[in-house]
């Protein structure tokens, strides 16, 4: 009891600097030290992606100099957007520690639905797309019901869904097997050719950089006003500057060819929105909590079932949106849509990007980073004119490596006390 007096913080110290046992890293050397500490303890963040991407790009560029050309990168961004949106949904479902194995089938079904409703039945395209998204949402609700009410593991229910929804897709496509979407309609242009005018692309990157800085600056100001230690302004400014300049350079390089696809812009917008939802809203906090400790979340008054339902619905709806995007990317809705490696690519992208298969850890940006890795491999292998047999094997190997890294990092985090 005599220790009580000692633990009282000195009056001058900010609330969060009262404990003298903690080392507070400041400045650049501090930032570097903190980063190394985190990596050593298994808190890898995006490090594996960055390293992986560097390796993959070096290898493919040395094998085929076309790989890093503006033209190929623009194509890569077009292709990334479709599966990337599906991967974003996977991030959502992985956050709560569940899985959806049917995203490929759902995306294929959605693309078929758009084809049938729009081209065959003459519905307005907007309504057809909304109907496809709604179908995705309904499938998500169904999984949630099976999971919440019947206690069916999502692994099994979505595996059943994979087959059932694929069957639905084949059924509504009928004997024709494939529906061509009309070239020249604005929505197909979005998937095929529409790119941002250079000025717009530069301006958007600048706006994103400014937004990063102002939000960091505001937080710092509020923390200072509240008597907490603020992050250094120099650091915030430096980070925003590096971020902006790097992206402007990328945009410049892409503008050498066609430019930044609007579809990719849509994807990045969704990623940013999801990132905000996961990090800055009560919903996102609840998702992380349910993924980390379901029982703890339930006891703190979170409606765990509603959170699971939202995760399943968001995942399936985004899968449907990804399907619609891939339909307009290919200008067709076919029996092959959503089959093959779509499922695994989406899941692999989320995991490679750093979202844990074990729940409770992840970020929307992992979908963006991961899909660029996956798509780089696919694009590089296509450029090398390798058969799909080799492509599957290599992509499978990369996925295995990603999961191994995830498992090892998790073990290391546990032993270093970082969850």
């Amino acid at each position: 009891m005599t220790s009580d007096a000692e633990t009282k913080p000195a009056a001058a110290a900010p609330l969060d600097r009262a404990d003298t046992r903690v080392r507070h890293d400041t400045g650049i050397s501090g930032a570097v030290r903190g980063f190394l500490d985190r990596v050593r303890s298994g808190d890898l963040g995006s490090l594996p992606v960055v390293v992986g991407l560097a390796i993959i790009w070096t290898v493919f560029q040395s094998l085929n100099p076309v790989f890093l050309s503006s033209n190929n990168l623009v194509n890569l961004l077009f292709d990334s957007s479709t599966v990337g949106v599906i991967a974003l949904g996977i991030v959502c479902i992985l956050m709560v520690g569940e899985i959806d194995l049917s995203v490929g089938s759902v995306s294929g079904f959605a693309s078929a639905l758009v084809g049938v409703l729009w081209v065959n039945n003459g519905w307005p395209v907007g309504i057809a797309i909304l109907a496809a998204l709604a179908a995705g949402a309904v499938i998500g609700v169904l999984y949630a019901l099976l999971f919440n009410r019947l206690g069916m593991p999502s692994f099994v229910s979505t595996l059943a869904g994979l087959l059932a929804v694929l069957g639905l897709q084949l059924f509504i496509l009928g004997s024709s097997g494939s529906i061509n979407l009309p070239y020249g309609s604005p929505i197909v242009d979005l998937g095929q050719t529409l790119v941002m005018p250079p000025v717009v692309a530069y301006a958007l990157v600048l706006a994103a950089g400014a937004a990063t800085f102002t939000s960091g600056y505001r937080t710092a100001a509020r923390r200072r006003a509240a008597g907490l230690t603020p992050p250094s302004l120099g650091g915030i400014l430096a980070r925003a500057l590096i971020f902006t300049v790097a992206l402007e350079l990328v945009v410049y390089y892409l503008n050498e060819d066609r430019g930044v696809p609007w579809m990719f812009g849509l994807f990045v917008g969704l990623v940013a929105a999801m990132d905000y939802a996961l990090k800055r809203t009560k919903w996102g906090r609840s998702m992380t909590a349910v993924g980390g400790n379901r029982e703890a979340a339930r006891r703190s008054g979170i409606d765990v079932r509603a959170i699971y339902t939202s995760a399943f619905v968001v995942c399936s709806t985004l899968a449907a949106l990804g399907g619609v995007l891939s339909a307009i990317r290919l200008a067709s809705a076919s029996q092959q849509a959503g089959t093959g490696d779509v499922n695994l690519n989406a899941i692999a992208a989320a995991v490679i990007g750093g979202t844990s298969l074990f729940g409770g850890r992840g970020s929307a940006y992992s979908a963006l980073l991961g899909i660029i890795v996956i798509q780089s491999i696919a694009s590089g292998l296509t450029l090398l004119d390798l058969s799909s047999s080799l492509r599957y094997m290599i992509t499978g190997g990369v996925l295995a490596v990603a999961v191994i890294v995830d498992s090892l990092a998790r073990r290391s985090r546990v032993s270093h006390g970082r969850a």
């Binding site: 404990d19 907490l228 006891r299």
Partner: protein
């Protein structure tokens, strides 16, 4: 022996009053006919052997289980708890034995879990300040509230769990085995913490198997045995007597008599009608 004389009646208002609470799981009667009174500013220790029904009783009070029969009065009004949120809304906070913390979230996120400020744009700064204030009120030693719970020690986790339960300014706080699995120094800190909570005028129900801890901090000791009340004791009761009541090994006329006398004493002095 002389525990009837030492048992000063608690000064605070009656916060919680249970009468005839029964809970059945199928054919098993986990609780039968439980009576319990808790006053403000009082620490009531709930002791009993394994399977005595302590945890079930706490879960009933936390709204996790619904009693099969019996009445519950909270601050003079009859209440029913349909779920954990009802209990929280009334002002009954629970710190479970497993603490129910999310190891992947930091201290602030755990303290505010389910009660975040500004659901659509989390107010991290305000939450962090409130978290520090709560922890400082408890004179807690937490190195950083921005570290994940996984990096904290057992005692620190207990502190975070107690701080979280205080967030909603409850009237009654229940601690399930707060000192189990803690070292000597950490146990002392948690007991200090419980005393600070009592000084704030809260009613505290504490489950423990450790008679030392119970006697160190409790104002009254309620013994459960096989799902029934088995006497009310005071901190000066001999260990032998307590253990006898808990295990039923000394279940003879003498101990029954003393237990009965104790219960009667409590009834006349308590606020029961």
């Amino acid at each position: 022996m002389s525990n009837t004389l030492q048992g000063t009646p608690p000064a605070g208002d009656l916060v919680l009053s249970l009468r005839g609470i029964c809970k059945q799981f199928g054919a098993v009667s986990a609780l039968s006919d439980i009576d319990l009174d808790v006053h403000a500013g009082e620490v009531v220790a709930l002791v009993g052997d394994n399977g005595a029904g302590k945890s079930t009783l706490v879960k009933v009070l936390a709204g996790v289980h619904q009693p099969t029969s019996g009445t519950m009065e909270f601050r003079g009004k009859p209440v029913t708890l349909a779920g954990p949120n009802d209990a929280l809304a009334l002002g009954i906070a629970t710190v479970f034995q497993d603490l129910a913390l999310c190891e992947n979230l930091d201290v602030v996120a755990n303290i505010f879990l389910g009660k975040e400020l500004q659901p659509y744009a989390l107010d991290e700064v305000a939450m962090e300040i409130r978290a520090w204030k709560l922890l400082n009120e408890l004179s807690a030693r937490i190195p950083s509230v921005r570290e994940p719970i996984a990096s904290l020690s057992g005692g620190q986790r207990q502190t975070v769990a107690i701080a979280r339960s205080l967030l909603l300014e409850p009237k009654l706080i229940m601690l399930d085995e707060p000192t189990a699995a803690l070292g000597v120094a950490q146990t002392a800190e948690v007991l200090n913490l419980i005393e600070r909570v009592r000084e704030r005028g809260l009613a505290v129900i504490m489950i423990s198997h450790n008679m030392e801890d119970v006697r160190a901090v409790a104002d009254r000791i309620v013994v459960l045995r096989l799902g029934r009340n088995n006497g009310i004791f005071y901190p000066d009761t001999s260990n032998q007597e307590l253990v006898g009541a808990i295990t039923g090994a000394a279940d003879n006329a003498v101990s029954r008599r003393s237990g009965r006398r104790q219960a009667q004493q409590d009834l006349t002095e308590g606020a029961r009608a």
